[in-house]
Symmetry: C2
Subunit: 468 residues, 2 copies
């Protein structure tokens, strides 16, 4: 057979040598460059790629590395591989193709170490206990659990949550003012539709939440944040304020007692609503968590919670504890015929709560995350004594304070170390005038083994002045 494949040096060009000389994996780099070559049209549909051995020889890398990169791109739909016809660029690719065939799998982009925040440890999901609850719940469920349900959610779950939230968060609720939703973001979106357009948000917060509000037609203005949380005294004629009172996200302070009272006073005076995102209220390590702000005035505060941080974001189970006046409008916005959350999952969570499994799981995770956090502060004290950790001992992440002007270069240095970690900049409201430099370090997801290596990479990325 004649040599009918494209010239590897020609199509991959200088890029590849550049990329391959970097610190990342060669397979990942080759995959990235090939994908870009197909996407941009440099490699046209139908073009035949060099055989593994040929490209490997040209690039001076292992044959398996090439084979793995090809296989990944075949799986993603960029390439096709047929016996006797070699590896070719798939039809329908190139710059005019309307959409990529499949998003790049996480694994292809994942750096070696990951200290990004936002997720609990997926390997710690209590499978056996959850399944035991599912078994009990499915056996005990009345037939009507499989018929059309209450748009508020299963009463069994709302009752279990009312008890749990009263006991652990001091929330003043009851099954009648709880509405089950598909995570806190769903709850926030529903509230955005019913309370008005003007929202105050914390100057540092989840861009995802700001985006939800904006796409629901709201306009957000930032409230400055310090060690005592958001400066709620700046609230004026907003319709609502989104706060993280237990543990400001991401900077880490709890909302101070006076500010708690002031937030509720503002709501009463201005006819506004305080939305309390209690995203990690369960995870305080130094003492009992501060109770929910909602307990100060259940008619002025809507409490949002979910199992996304405590169990898994994939369960899609959240709740809203609402002022009574908002129950009906929120249900109308939710769609009265719709439940969104699976009744079997709702019943399973209800059993998980009432059987004590949830408490046991939270206790176990609290110990685990606390050890993780302690390890982080120990390592920093030893290797980067100039770097402070701000905020209370709580949650699934910590914020490392960096010298002014250094954040961007530290994040970049971390990336060179194969470490994914985010700076505070990504959390800052675009209109905020605050400027702090810091790293948001999530410590929940690495394996025990991987965590030590990740912390090592982190220390190597910190500015020289900060390290010992």
């Amino acid at each position: 057979m004649a040599k009918s494949w494209v010239n590897s040096a020609e199509v991959l060009g200088a890029d590849l040598h550049l990329e391959l000389s970097g610190a990342g994996s060669r397979r990942a780099a080759l995959t990235r460059v090939l994908r870009e070559a197909v996407r941009s049209g440099r490699l046209a549909p139908g073009a035949r790629l060099p055989p593994y051995r040929s490209l490997a020889a040209d690039l001076g890398i292992a044959r398996n590395t090439v084979a793995d990169a090809y296989a990944e791109l075949v799986a993603e739909g960029w390439l096709t591989a047929r016996q006797g016809s070699g590896t070719r660029v798939a039809a329908g690719t190139g710059p005019t193709a309307p959409v990529p065939r499949r998003t790049v799998p996480e694994s292809a982009r994942r750096p070696v170490h990951d200290l990004t925040q936002g997720r609990p440890d997926p390997s710690a999901f209590p499978r056996a206990a959850w399944l035991a609850s599912a078994r009990r719940a499915l056996s005990a469920a009345p037939h009507d659990a499989f018929g059309p349900g209450d748009p508020r959610g299963r009463v069994e779950l709302r009752e279990a949550l009312a008890e749990y939230l009263a006991r652990t968060r001091g929330a003043r609720s009851g099954p009648d003012r709880i509405v089950i939703c598909s995570g806190a973001a769903h709850g926030l979106r529903l509230l955005a539709g019913v309370v008005g357009r003007r929202w105050a948000v914390e100057a540092y917060g989840l861009p995802f939440h700001r985006g939800l509000l904006t796409s629901a037609g709201a306009v957000t203005t930032p409230l400055a944040v310090d060690a005592h949380g958001a400066e709620v005294a700046a609230l004026r004629r907003e319709n609502a304020v989104l706060l993280t009172p237990a543990h400001q996200f991401p900077t880490g302070g709890p909302l101070g007692p006076r500010r708690r009272a002031a937030a509720v006073e503002w709501a009463r005076a201005a006819g506004g609503l305080v939305v309390e995102d209690d995203y990690d209220g369960e995870f305080r390590y130094d003492r009992q968590p501060v109770g929910a702000l909602q307990s100060l005035d259940p008619e002025m505060v809507a409490l949002l919670g979910s199992v996304s941080k405590s169990l898994s974001p994939t369960l899609r189970l959240g709740w809203m504890v609402l002022p009574e006046r908002l129950v009906e409008p929120v249900l109308a916005a939710k769609g009265e015929r719709e439940q969104w959350s699976s009744a079997t999952e709702q019943l399973t969570l209800a059993d998980f709560l009432t059987s004590g499994s949830y408490d046991r799981h939270v206790r176990r995770m609290r110990q685990r995350y606390r050890r993780r956090r302690d390890r982080l502060t120990e390592v920093l004290a030893e290797r980067a004594p100039g770097v402070g950790v701000s905020g209370i001992a709580a949650g699934l992440h910590a914020v490392l304070e960096l010298p002014p002007g250094t954040e961007r270069s530290v994040v970049k240095a971390a990336s060179w170390q194969g470490l994914a970690v985010e700076g505070l900049a990504g959390y800052r409201h675009p209109e905020s005038t605050e400027r702090r430099d810091g790293l948001v370090v999530g410590y929940a997801t690495p394996t025990d083994h991987g965590y030590a290596a990740a912390l090592d990479a982190l220390c190597r990325a910190l500015p020289p002045g900060a390290t010992a």
Copy 2:
């Protein structure tokens, strides 16, 4: 203790005697009257109700009946019961209370017989098989199943669906063009956000779906419907058309072969989208179901399906098989960080499909519903030979053709018989000029025993001329 409770005759008044003499259950009637007395303020917050025995004696009914009614209203939050203080009207009730504490449970309003359509038999949910799938799925799941997921949904489920839909519906798909959603309504709402405002819908269809489209900003125009489904030749410059090709909902005809081709031709010529709601594609009783319209051109047709009719609407699991060009826009509309459907439920359904449990369940339900449908036609042939059943032998409901002008009075007569059943009028597009009279009879949910009684009530409600 002095007699400190309110006078039962005075507060319940004439209403109660009237209600209790009716055909419904006495407990339900008493509950309703008491609830109304509290809601209207006739019974003020704090007022103490008569003890069971006293009210029972006054009304000449059993003591347990009163106790049950009180208990229900306590559960609903209208009353409170405390040891030593008796049963009192709860605080915060009355006409000035902003919202009811809890919606009236279905059971309190439910008529004796129910032939409304829309739900599968909740008592037939395959609990054991579902739990077995959950056990296998949870044991086999990789850890990443509990981390943030692919917004398309779990690949295991998309692969299982691609196989299932190809095998049973002839659908041309693949995991890359399937997006998991929280039921077909969720899918429809997402499509409404991406394909444009002008939608054609069938002149008879689910008002819920029309409402979804309208609330998403779309304008719907009706397509006439006959025994061969929607008259798609009337399509012009619409952006999309919503069809039920397998079994027109609710009138019951399958979309004819020429119209199938014409719908796809229209989409190609007009740049429109055909949305195929395959709501009960599994349930055809006389022969193999017609394949999905989507198979004619997967780039012109979006296929929507769910387990809401086959398993249970409470699982909140649906899917969209999309033209490639729509995958990314739909994911963007869905919220790229959001999955909506529980990963554990998705994995459970994937196992349920691949293990053959889904096929077995569908076969079993097909036999059951077919017997139900056969029984309906037998009873009608015997007792109301003038009433025709339109449409194919399929689905979970049948349409009874009524003489012109009689529908409303038949629905009313049915209500007098304690039978809940809907007329066609509620399904008609408000702008449609079609006028047919008919009953939409859902036969899936009654118990075997209850079904005979419901059919008996149905026959008694039919117009005299139609009955034997």
